[in-house]
């Protein structure tokens, strides 16, 4: 425990109060002092603080009880972070693995550049959700704002509500599934027919996220690949 002020501890859980303990101390604990085998960490009174539970690198459960600020649970690896509130810019940005669950709404750039893991947002996500996505899965229970999945390279995004303008602009290999209305598609994005594999993917991601929508209701949006101008074969072939 070192000098940390924990509100309460049991053998398998520990509670920190951000009104009592500095964020730096809590993040330090999460990075360096998990050897005691806590299964669950609760963080009280986040009150919009930035960088809560960033860069975690252990299979630990963290629950943030309230609204978090910028970059909550960003660069996550292995951890399971739940936020019982809203989050600011860049939640789960550059996540590598694990799971981040936002129970409120997410501000801009949710899951930006995330390489792996699962980001669940129960409410709406603001603009640029999944920008430059590199392999993670994102499930949004509500709607996404404009420029969702801009330049997304790999990974899957499921949107249970509507999508704003320029959905999937300049997509690479990432695929987006949308249940509601799409205000407009971005450059090179197109609506494609759903295959059995797509229905299975949507069903799998909805189940993981805890939503019970019918996969049959979703449309597939992917890249038309008209913006691809390199020739991989030319490189391989010399």
């Amino acid at each position: 425990m070192d000098s940390l002020t924990a509100s309460s501890t049991t053998t398998d859980s520990i509670t920190f109060d951000l009104a009592q303990t500095s964020l730096r101390e809590i993040n330090h604990y999460l990075h360096h002092n998990l050897a005691r085998g806590e299964k669950k960490i609760h963080i009280l009174n986040p009150d919009g603080a930035h960088n809560i539970a960033v860069g975690l690198n252990a299979p630990v459960d963290v629950e943030i009880l309230g609204h978090a600020g910028y970059y909550a649970a960003s660069m996550n690896q292995l951890a399971n972070v739940a936020i019982a509130g809203n989050v600011g810019t860049g939640v789960a940005e550059n996540m590598m693995s694990g799971r981040v669950h936002v129970k409120g709404f997410a501000s801009v750039s949710a899951g930006a550049s995330a390489h792996g893991g699962l980001l669940i947002i129960d409410g709406d996500a603001s603009l640029r959700c999944g920008i430059s996505l590199k392999g993670a899965d994102i499930v949004v229970g509500g709607s996404v704002g404009s420029f969702a999945a801009f330049m997304a390279q790999a990974g899957r995004i499921v949107v249970c509500g509507n999508a704003g303008e320029a959905l999937g602009d300049s997509l690479y290999e990432a695929v987006i599934y949308v249940r509601g209305e799409i205000k407009s598609l971005g450059a090179d994005a197109q609506i494609e027919s759903m295959s059995e594999a797509d229905y299975a993917t949507v069903a799998e991601l909805l189940a993981k996220a805890g939503f019970s929508y019918n996969p049959q209701d979703f449309k597939r949006v992917a890249s038309a690949k008209q913006l691809y101008h390199w020739n991989a074969d030319a490189v391989a072939g010399g």
């Binding site: 009150d47 919009g48 309230g66 600020g69 809203n86 600011g88 801009v108 603009l127 404009s146």
Partner: protein, 297 residues
């Protein structure tokens, strides 16, 4: 970066506490804007034809000399409430004449605001210091907007701090940067609209006030702003009876709104709303790009 905060009190008995509720909101945005701060508060409205003029002096100023010299020009003794470098002058004389007289006789004074309802404060320094300097905690009124500045577009000086004002009972704070403030200026200056600084926000403020003077209501002026003002912005505007919030089409600059039966509170980040009474049960949302959010007192 800059931070913006706004608070409109719905429950009349809470108007006495406007300053107390507002100061932690302002200080909560100190990290976003540590070099200057300002606050405009809308108070009980003076009867016609009275006007109040918020004045600022960079150097120590003898406000009593201003009171003494006023009657020679206007045959009346004005009310003056001073607090260090800042004072409010209240007079029933014709506003254009008072402003001309102030400018000619006291060129060292900066006129921060004019109107029947608005009081304005702005200065350089950390937001907590500015709030202390002018005792923001004691302010009362129906609504207020405030700003913490991280200067990007122009130098760190009191007159380039926000809020900016134009005309009467209108002010604007801005988080972001405009890319066409000089083309806006070049359009407005030939119409006799005078600019006091090289700050980009002043262009937005004077543009919107010009549209309202030409007959637009606040909402129509803001819609015209979507067409004419280019750049990144979250704007928060105050008039005698309204608070208005808008973001540009790309929503690059943040804002969060918390609404209860008692108040509407706006801030760049939730951090500044966290202390508000019953905020946990507030209707909390992020304003959409190019949507108009207007609340009336």
């Amino acid at each position: 970066m800059c931070g913006i905060v706004g608070l409109l009190i719905k429950k009349p008995e809470w108007r006495e506490s406007l300053g107390e509720l507002m100061v932690p909101m302002l200080i909560g945005m100190s990290d976003r804007g540590p070099d200057s701060a300002g606050l405009a508060v809308f108070t009980a409205t003076l009867p016609e034809p009275q006007r109040k003029y918020s004045l600022y002096s960079k150097d120590k100023f003898d406000w009593e000399s201003l009171r003494r010299s006023f009657p020679a020009a206007f045959a009346t003794v004005p009310e003056i409430q001073s607090n260090g470098n800042r004072a409010v002058l209240i007079s029933d004389r014709e506003p254009d004449l008072v402003k001309q007289w102030l400018k000619a006789k006291y060129p060292q004074l900066h006129l921060l605001s004019t109107g029947r309802t608005i009081d304005l404060y702005k200065d350089t320094g950390k937001p907590a210091m500015v709030a202390d300097r002018y005792n923001f905690s004691a302010l009362k009124g129906s609504h207020a907007i405030a700003h913490t500045r991280m200067a990007t577009e122009s130098a760190v000086t009191p007159d380039r701090a926000h809020p900016f004002t134009a005309g009467e009972d209108f002010c604007l704070v801005h988080n972001g940067s405009l890319s066409n403030p000089y083309s806006i200026r070049r359009r407005l200056e030939p119409l006799g609209i005078h600019f006091e600084t090289d700050n980009d926000t002043e262009a937005a403020c004077r543009f919107l006030e010009w549209r309202m003077r030409e007959g637009d209501d606040l909402e129509t002026a803001i819609k015209q702003g979507f067409v004419e003002l280019d750049g990144f912005y979250t704007f928060l505007m105050g008039t005698a009876d309204k608070l208005a919030l808008v973001r540009d089409a790309f929503a690059c600059k943040p804002a969060v709104v918390a609404e209860t039966d008692e108040y509407v509170a706006i801030a760049s980040e939730f951090r500044s709303l966290a202390h508000l009474p019953d905020v946990k049960n507030a209707h909390l949302y992020e304003p959409a790009p190019e949507e108009l959010y207007v609340w009336t007192v």
